[in-house]
């Protein structure tokens, strides 16, 4: 829940989703982040996305590492189990949880330091394994909790609040994802809820690792003149030309989506992602075309947002491991233990 207290009695009746729940059921504790922090907007978008998807809170598990962004899972969906783990290790911990309990929707929230610095290895391998989860990087180019050091996503020349401009080239999680064979890559902006909520919904519906890079300015340490992750800079340099709509499996296709001009990609659960108003020559399912587009925009100093790349149907961790469809955590010893007769027979080969 963002840092402004909500009235106990709503001013207007709250809408209900298909489960009869209101947005209040998808909110969490009061945020302790700085007023105006981009992360609070992302928190609100996550709440709204799950509310609109009508997913039961108990069917959601939320994980994080360490950092400002990693505090946020406590600010949304109180009824979901949460795991605020160790710096950089969330992807590994999520991988184990998903291996054990495949019946839940997993959402990981991380930051650019947590994911691209200390946790880069785990993030990379979770992408390779196509672990079925939504992984949000709340990207502000700065270490907030330790008060303003540059992060690995800071652009060359970007000026921190104190000290010299950054001279080390940044890691772009979208380029990284393409290189590693990611199956869902999207970039959003904490200041654009209309774009962000459908992106989160699509990420949740995606079967496999959905990497969502959300530019989320740090008002305390990286929102000044000379920063390339400030609200102003990003609004000036964002290119919002990949228009997408997410239509869940059960929803009617409403008329505002002009399906004739759109490229539709059906997701594994039957939901459909409509790509509208794509730049010329852009194919969101073709890695080479996406790479070329991103490189071109980067050279122009622009940052494209939207669902940049999508590959449905790729095997996920469980497909690659050949695991049973029933969650491993739900199996009883009777399903797992071969018993004494088998042990005695096996030991014939130990003689």
């Amino acid at each position: 829940m963002p840092s402004i207290a909500k009235p106990r009695i709503p001013l207007a009746p709250l809408a209900h989703n298909d489960l009869g729940l209101t947005i209040r059921d998808y909110e969490g504790a009061m945020s302790t982040l700085c007023a105006g922090c981009g992360h609070d907007s992302v928190t609100a978008a996550i709440s709204l996305a799950f509310f609109e998807l009508s997913i039961r809170p108990r069917d959601i598990a939320k994980l994080s590492g360490i950092g400002c962004s990693s505090k946020t899972p406590t600010y949304f969906i109180n009824g979901a189990h949460g795991f605020n783990s160790a710096h950089g290790r969330m992807a590994a911990i999520a991988t184990g949880a998903i291996a054990a309990q495949r019946g839940l929707h997993y959402i990981g929230v991380s930051g650019d330091g947590d994911s691209l610095s200390i946790g880069l290895g785990h993030l990379s391998h979770a992408i390779r394994r196509n672990v079925d989860m939504t992984y949000i990087i709340e990207n502000n180019g700065v270490y907030g909790l330790t008060k303003g050091q540059v992060s690995p996503s800071a652009d060359v020349g970007s000026r921190p609040k104190k000290g010299d401009p950054n001279v080390v080239p940044p890691i772009d999680p979208m380029e990284l994802g393409l290189a590693l064979g990611a199956t869902f890559l999207a970039r959003g902006f904490s200041g654009d809820k209309d774009q962000l909520v459908p992106l989160i919904k699509a990420a949740v519906a995606h079967r496999g690792f959905a990497l969502l890079d959300v530019i989320s300015p740090c008002v305390s340490f990286n929102d000044h003149e000379g920063s390339t992750k400030s609200y102003r800079f990003f609004r000036e340099h964002e290119v919002h030309e990949i228009e997408t709509d997410f239509v869940p499996q059960r929803a009617e296709i409403r008329s505002k989506i002009s399906s004739d001009s759109a490229r539709a990609v059906t997701m594994h659960d039957g939901s459909v992602m409509y790509f509208r108003a794509l730049p010329e020559g852009y194919n969101p399912t073709d890695r080479v075309s996406v790479e070329a587009y991103l490189a071109e925009r980067k050279a122009m100093g622009e940052v494209p947002t939207g669902l940049l790349f999508l590959r449905e149907g790729a095997p996920d961790l469980h497909d690659m491991s050949g695991t049973v469809s029933r969650p491993l955590a739900d199996l009883d010893l009777a399903d797992l233990c071969p018993g004494n007769d088998a042990l005695q027979r096996l030991q014939e080969s130990f003689r």
């Binding site: 590994a92 998903i98 309990q101 469980h318 049973v324 491993l328 233990c337 004494n340 003689r351």
Partner: protein, 603 residues
Amino acid sequence: MSTAPGVNDFALKLANVNGTGSASANGLLMQSIFRMGVPVSGKNLFPSNIQGLPTWYEIRVNGAGHTARSLEYHLMVAMNAQTYAQDVASVASGGYVLYDSSWPLDDDLIREDVNYLGVPLAAMCREHFTKNRERILMKNVAYAGALVALLDIDLDIVSTLLAETFAKNEALRESNQRALRLGYDVARENFPCPLPFRVEARGENQDSILVDGNTAIALGCLYAGATVVGWYPITPATAVMDNFIALCKRYRRVEVAPGEWENNYCVIQAEDEIAAIGMVLGASWAGARAFTSTAGPGISLMNELLGLAYYTEIPAVVVDVQRVGPSTGMPTRTQQGDLLACAYASHGDTRHIIVIPADPHEAFEFAVAAFDLAERFQTPVFVLSDLDIGMNDWIVPSLTWDDSFVPNRGRVLHDEDLANMREFFRYAHEDDDHVTARTLPGSDEKGAYFIRGSGHDRFGRYTEESGAYLQVVDRLRAKHASAAHHVPAPLEVRRPGSRVGLVTMGSCDRAVREAIELLAEQGVDCDYLRVRAFPFADSIRDFVDSHESCFVIEQNRDAQLKSLLTVELSLTPASMTSILDYGGFPLSASTVVEAVLAHQEVH
């Protein structure tokens, strides 16, 4: 302490070049003696290398059942010219050297007090085999054949074993049998077979198996119901996972449709040990039984997350097959150097449960127990094995499984439990063992909580208040202490009138027990206590207090067991004397006997 070898009482050492196929020939001899019903052990002393460096294998045959490493070799099979000098020098006076006489031995390798058995192995194999690789490999089986004749090992048993080993490859089966016979016949024609020391069949191993600890631990994890594994390859623990995967392929596959198989397990080869333990924590949090296996360097890497698991109370089973440290150390040598690193792994005040098996049989049982302990106490549990247990074949009693076994999954609340509760708090309402109930992801919203490695109160809420913090960490301390009543108890063997106590742990067991018999022959009666777990039982303090002199025998430089006993049981350091053997090889009884006697003389 030199003793004359005899029937079913001798040791031989085989010096080879690694990567030449000697391991299977040496194992063949050891297994054949086992099948003859005679107590035997094989210790593989191998380099951290794939091909070309010296490697040794020791076989000790002992009718009395003493199978710890012997330092006295009555027969040396010198197959490595690089190490001839040291190998010849290490044979006991009056012993034998079997060497490849295709080339003459240098004069300076000739000792007056040993007997030389020259077998032209290379020449024989060149004559009888055509392929180069075969000529090298078959030299091993040929010397094995010569040893079969010299030591009176049952040729039929060896031949049968070879046939079993190569059941699926007729060409190899035939060439191996031919090489075996070549060596056997040459020895019979040229030497007085058998030698004065030899093997005589007994019926002792009927209820025993020959197994290494890594296999036994994998079996324990299989039987305990482990389903999720994160691991990273490392010597000497890798075979735990090789075996676990092989066992899962055999026992954990389910046919979901005709010809369509799915796995009741998920083994993930992680990007590093940090990820490996991270996966274990994630899976355990989600309610599965999960484990990882590693060695010292992996424990070092896992430290941060072990602290997270300790503080947030997540079960985890960590198998540590110890090798020589510090740093990379000597990866293929054995040591017990990780005890302290495991006991207090991670920053801040942490303390963990450790179970310490002595041999593969206990390794199987303790691996099973580790999962129950981890879930009962919601905390990491280490299975502290070592390279000697893990990678050598041991004769141990056959394993049995109680089909009525019900695992202890600890205090877990499910929907029906939550329905009767007004509110759920993760770290409140402790039981007699100071354990609180947990819920699993996916449970009713009432049971949802937010795990955090940051300061939390007993309700699971973030806190920076001293009192609320202390409440949780003081309970953790009490919980750990409580586990002392649930871990494997120390094993004691008393001899009437003993005034000396020998305390040890793990794979030192057999050497120390043998030492006790040897010391008794010298008039020094000793009681025995083997520590099998941490936290320690109070009975260990009583044992130390009740002996005039007490020795703590362990395989590390810094007396880690003695230190831990001193600190945790409030013993005075002077109440115990250390016997430390940490050069990287399995302990032998003579080391213990000499140290105890030397100490007795001084005092």
